[in-house]
């Protein structure tokens, strides 16, 4: 069925009103030869032929399906139980949009409520919104919260240089024109020094301090002292986290964080060449009114039955206009559901098991690599499932060699931190077998001896 809302009579009436004889007259300013240009297209294909051609293009991609991968740097390959996709593809759920009408959306609203509950459990925080686009935008919304909390009176945001480079870039894009100064991550030789370095920047004008946990280089720092220091001058602290790590680590909530955000991709969302992903955002109750995004709450209906609704919506921009914290009030519904289903399927025990596997395998890999002549693990700081390796040769050369053996090597740190040359960031998850790790070690050895 075609959906054309206007009848020919109505169209004629409109044309007459504006004084035009026929529809074509509206386009007379566009030269005739540009109206329907002859597109140089190949002959039409049947569905079968088109599918074969597209499959051919797709095969040109090297993927983690066919290769061994140690690439992470913010996106991680984990096993996704097949039930996740089956539940996502159910017609009742298959929309990315947040529902407004509780009368017809109890299932979706409940799934978002469960997602929010799971996120607060993982992070050790009190409230979670219904999600954001990705980890980077969630970090940016943390700045918006702090900005709104101090009503624009505090103008300094301290960003640790070991926050993901893309998150920092997004932060700068989001905060353009807000009169904020983002400091702390300027290029310098000791850019990989820990949180002590940024402590000295905290002052009365500091609205927010942003750190990452584990940080971009894979390291684990306890930010308890940093949080206390920020609070002394009344500022807030945001910790961007890898959610998988929180299954076995002290939560940022326990450290005294005010805002905990992160990339939810590791929770049941495939790598998909970089997106779509999921941003999660959690904070303390006292900041709930300054939090961006949708929020689902539990209530009772007129028959006293448990039910769910979008709540505290007056803080959002469609109602609060220019005084709202953010102009984002949509969420990443389908992917939030994916992570809720993933976590529910794994359960507390399974989730912890995934984290332990990652931790143990990564530590085995680090130990083996550290033994190879010319290679060393760059830090003795504790790490989770990713670590920096100081290499004897440029990372790009090593990676090229690894590719020849069907291995995607680690991330080249020098791309974002020019002073940190020849460093490779290696991620190991439960998906990497011992054989794969041993193969990586063997090829790395070879590279050094060539």
């Amino acid at each position: 069925m075609t959906y054309i809302p206007h009848s020919p009579n109505e169209r004629d009436a409109m044309l007459e009103t504006i004084g035009v004889k026929k529809l074509d007259d509206l386009f007379k300013d566009i030269p005739a030869r540009h109206r329907f240009p002859d597109l140089n297209l190949p002959p039409t294909l049947s569905e079968m032929e088109a599918a074969a051609e597209l499959a051919g293009y797709a095969e040109a991609n090297e993927t983690t399906q066919t290769m061994v991968s140690f690439l992470g740097a913010g996106a991680y390959r984990h096993y996704i139980p097949s039930a996740v996709d089956h539940i996502l593809s159910r017609g009742e759920f298959y929309t990315a949009y947040t529902p407004y009408q509780p009368e017809i959306s109890q299932g979706t609203l409940q799934s978002i409520f469960e997602y929010q509950s799971l996120m607060t459990l993982i992070t050790g925080m009190e409230v979670s919104n219904a999600s954001h686009y990705d980890g980077a935008t969630a970090v940016a919304e943390a700045v918006n919260l702090a900005y709104a909390q101090f009503r624009g009176k505090r103008t300094k945001v301290i960003v640790s240089p070991s926050v993901h480079p893309q998150y920092r870039e997004t932060l700068r894009t989001y905060t353009q024109g807000m009169g904020l100064s983002l400091v702390g991550d300027d290029a310098r030789d000791d850019i990989d020094s820990g949180p002590k370095e940024i402590e000295t920047l905290i002052d009365e004008n500091t609205a927010l301090v942003v750190v990452q946990y584990p940080d971009f280089f894979g390291r684990i720092f306890d930010y308890t002292e940093l949080a206390a220091k920020v609070h002394q001058t009344g500022g807030l602290i945001c910790v961007a986290v890898n959610p998988t790590a929180l299954a076995i680590l002290k939560t940022p909530g326990e450290m005294g964080a005010d805002i905990v955000v992160g990339e939810g991709q590791p929770l049941g969302i495939p790598l998909s060449f970089g997106g779509p992903y999921l941003g999660f955002f959690t904070t303390l109750k006292k900041y709930i009114h300054k939090m961006a995004g949708r929020l689902v709450g539990e209530t009772v209906d007129n028959r006293g039955q448990r039910s769910y609704v979008l709540t505290l919506t007056a803080r959002e921009q469609h109602i609060k206009r220019d005084r709202a914290t953010s102009n984002i009030c949509t969420n990443q519904g389908l992917l939030a559901l994916a992570s809720a289903v993933y976590l529910s399927l794994l359960g507390q025990k399974g989730f912890k098991q995934v984290a332990e596997l990652c931790y143990n395998k990564a530590h085995y890999a680090a130990e083996q690599i550290n033994k190879i002549e010319g290679y060393s693990v760059c830090f003795d700081t504790p790490f989770f499932h990713e670590f920096s390796v100081c290499c004897p040769r440029p990372v790009s050369e090593i990676n090229e060699h690894l590719l020849e053996h069907g291995i995607m090597g680690g991330y080249e740190v020098g791309k974002d931190y020019p002073s940190l040359k020849d460093r490779m960031l290696i991620a190991v998850t439960e998906m990497n077998s011992k054989e794969e790790i041993d193969l990586l070690v063997d090829v790395l050895k070879e590279v050094n001896h060539e």
């Binding site: 009114h289 505290l312 007056a314 109602i319």
Partner: protein
């Protein structure tokens, strides 16, 4: 609808008490907003405030509104209790629900109770 006779009123539905210097949101306004779930005072003690300047921001379950200062003056006290108990704006708008207390306010040009009552009735029709 309650409209105390000793207070002065603005067209944007704030009240001003010339004897105490307190200002707040009228009963008419709180009823229009319905259940208020959040209130934030936008000025601090010691600030000077001018007539028409936003002094507080409130959110109800369905709406958000700003309240504006009824007069010029200096802020001597703000009602901290509203942060934790915004419902005071609904339950006691002219008492415990006061927002800001100022010094030096001049009520010239504001409506008295009977003018404000008429103004509310006009809008309800």
């Amino acid at each position: 609808m309650n409209i105390p006779g000793n207070l002065k009123y603005t067209e944007s539905d704030e009240w001003f008490d010339p004897s105490s210097g307190k200002m707040g949101l009228t009963d008419y306004a709180q009823e229009q907003l319905s259940d208020i779930v959040f209130a934030e005072i936008l000025v601090s003690e010691g600030d000077s405030i001018t007539k028409g300047q936003a002094m507080a921001s409130v959110e109800s379950v369905k709406a958000a509104a700003e309240t504006y200062s009824a007069v010029d003056g200096n802020v001597v006290e703000i009602n901290e209790e509203l942060v934790d108990s915004p419902e005071l704006l609904n339950s006691d708008p002219f008492g415990a629900g006061w927002m800001v207390k100022i010094e030096g306010g001049d009520s010239t040009g504001l409506m008295d109770a009977s003018a404000y009552e008429k103004y509310c009735q006009e809008r309800s029709q």
